[in-house]
C-alpha cells in the first residue's frame, strides 16, 4: 500500500483492520500522524455530541414494554363480534349526542383562546392516535400512572381510582404528562395531566365533538374530555379527590 492509498482508506475507515493498512502505518510516520489526526477528529466530533440521557427515559422504555405486554395479553381475551357492533353503535350515538350538546351548551371551537386550544388539540390528537385499551387491571393502572406521575411531578400523587384505565406511556409531542381514562356510569372520560404553565382559569368548551374542561392545577393543567357533560362532571369530582400533592 502506498501513501495515497493509505490516506484514501484512512478517510473512509480510520479504524480499518486491513493488514496492509496497519503495516503501512507502522512504517510511515507521516501517514501514522495523518490517520491519528482523523481519529482525533472523529473522537472530538463524537464527544461534541455527548449528552446526558434523561434520567427517567430508560425507565419509561421499560415501563412502555410492560404495559404493551399487558395489552397484548388482554387482547387475547377477545371481545365477541356482537359486543363489538353494540359498542360501535353506542359510540356513534354518543358522538351524535355529544356533537349536539357541544354545539349548544359549550360553544364552538372558535370561541376557544389559543392557549386552551393548543392544550385541547394536543390531547385530542393524542387520543386519536393512542386509543386507550378498554381492558385493564385497576391496581396495575394506578401503580403505573403513579410511577409516570412521579417521573414528571414527584410531589404529585394519585389516590386509588377503581375505574382508572391507563394502558401505556405514549408520546405526547411537546407535552409531558399523563393520558388516561376513567370509566364512569355515563361512559368513558379521558383526562390528561399536562405539565407546564397553568392556564389562568377553568374553562369549559365543546371541542371536536367532545365536552371538555381545562382546569389549572399545581404544576400544569388538567384536561378532561368526555362525550357527555354528566360523565365529565363525575370524572372531575373523582379527580378532585384523587389528585393531591405530597408536600
Amino acid at each position: 500500500m502506498n501513501c495515497l492509498d493509505f490516506k484514501r482508506l484512512a478517510l473512509s475507515d480510520p479504524s480499518s483492520r486491513d493488514h496492509s493498512f496497519i503495516e503501512h502505518s507502522a512504517q510511515c510516520p507521516d501517514c501514522l500522524k495523518y490517520v491519528g489526526s482523523i481519529r482525533q477528529m472523529d473522537a472530538d466530533l463524537s464527544s461534541s455530541m455527548d449528552v446526558e440521557m434523561p434520567s427517567d427515559l430508560m425507565a419509561r422504555l421499560q415501563l412502555n414494554q410492560e404495559l404493551t405486554e399487558e395489552i397484548e395479553t388482554a387482547e387475547v381475551i377477545a371481545i365477541n363480534p356482537m359486543r363489538r357492533y353494540a359498542m360501535a353503535a353506542s359510540f356513534a350515538l354518543a358522538l351524535f349526542v355529544a356533537g349536539f350538546m357541544a354545539s349548544n351548551q359549550f360553544g364552538s371551537n372558535n370561541d376557544i383562546s389559543s392557549d386552551y386550544q393548543a392544550l385541547l388539540a394536543g390531547v385530542v390528537e393524542h387520543m386519536n392516535e393512542q386509543a386507550i385499551t378498554p381492558v385493564w387491571s385497576a391496581e396495575r393502572a394506578n401503580s403505573n400512572a403513579n410511577t409516570l406521575l412521579a417521573s414528571y411531578a414527584p410531589e404529585m400523587k394519585l389516590k386509588f381510582l377503581s375505574n382508572l384505565q391507563f394502558s401505556r406511556i405514549c408520546p405526547m409531542g411537546q407535552y409531558k404528562g399523563l393520558h388516561a381514562s376513567l370509566e364512569t356510569a355515563d361512559g368513558q372520560v379521558t383526562f390528561a395531566f399536562i405539565k407546564g404553565d397553568s392556564v389562568s382559569e377553568l374553562f369549559d368548551a365543546g371541542y371536536e365533538g367532545y365536552v371538555s374542561r381545562v382546569k389549572p392545577i399545581r404544576g400544569g393543567n388538567l384536561i378532561i374530555m368526555s362525550r357527555t357533560n354528566k360523565a365529565l362532571q363525575e370524572a372531575d369530582s373523582q379527580l378532585e379527590e384523587a389528585m393531591y400533592w405530597d408536600i
Binding site: 484514501r8 477528529m41 463524537s46 461534541s48 440521557m53 421499560q62 405514549c170
Partner: protein
C-alpha cells in the same frame, strides 16, 4: 464513541435462547444511550427525540422475535429508529427546525451539548455536509458502525459507503481548516 468492551460482551450473548423480556432489557441497557445521542442529533429537539425513541423501542419489542443475533442488535435497532424517525418527520415536519439554520450557542446549551467553540465548530462542520455524506459519517462516528453495517442500514453498497465517508471526512477537514485544498483523488462511486 461506542464502548467496545460492552459491545463485545453483547456480541457473545445468545439471543435465540433468551427470554423476550430479558432480550429487551439488554437492548435498552446496551443501546439506549447511543441511540439517544443519535436521536437528539437527528431530531434537534429533546421531546421529539424521546418520543421517536419510545416508539422505536416499542416497535422493537413487537418484532423482537425476529432478532436472533446480539451482534446484529444495534444495526437492527438503528434501522427501526430511522424508519420511525422518517415516519414521524413526515407527520410532524412543522415541528422541526431546518438543519441549516440550527445550532446557535443557545440551541446547543438547551440541548445539553458541549458549548465550547471547538465543539460548536465541529457540529457546524458536520451540518454543512451534504446529507448523503453526513448520514454515513454520523453512523460511523455516533453509532460506531462498520462500513458493511452502514451499507446494510442505508441499503447501498459498501464501496458507496466508503466513498461517501471519504468525501465526508475530506470536506470536514477542509471546513475545519485541517486541509486547505483537495489533494487526493476521488474514489468513484
Amino acid at each position: 464513541m461506542t464502548d467496545l468492551s460492552n459491545e463485545n460482551d453483547q456480541e457473545q450473548v445468545n439471543y435465540s435462547m433468551m427470554d423476550k423480556k430479558r432480550k429487551y432489557a439488554l437492548l435498552i441497557e446496551a443501546h439506549s444511550k447511543d441511540l439517544y445521542k443519535y436521536a437528539l442529533w437527528l431530531c434537534k429537539d429533546k421531546n421529539m427525540a424521546e418520543d421517536v425513541m419510545q416508539e422505536a423501542f416499542l416497535r422493537a419489542w413487537k418484532s423482537l422475535d425476529s432478532l436472533r443475533e446480539a451482534k446484529a442488535a444495534k444495526g437492527w435497532l438503528f434501522t427501526i429508529f430511522r424508519r420511525e424517525h422518517a415516519r414521524q418527520f413526515e407527520r410532524k415536519q412543522f415541528q422541526y427546525k431546518d438543519v441549516e439554520s440550527m445550532d446557535t450557542i443557545e440551541d446547543s446549551s438547551h440541548m445539553g451539548y458541549d458549548d465550547r467553540p471547538e465543539a460548536f465548530a465541529l457540529r457546524n462542520a458536520l451540518k454543512k455536509l451534504p446529507e448523503e455524506y453526513r448520514e454515513p459519517l454520523e453512523m460511523q462516528v455516533l453509532g460506531g458502525f462498520s462500513c458493511d453495517e452502514i451499507a446494510g442500514i442505508l441499503d447501498i453498497s459498501s464501496s458507496a459507503v466508503m466513498t461517501r465517508l471519504f468525501r465526508a471526512r475530506k470536506k470536514m477537514r477542509q471546513i475545519l481548516g485541517h486541509e486547505s485544498a483537495p489533494q487526493l483523488g476521488v474514489v468513484g462511486e
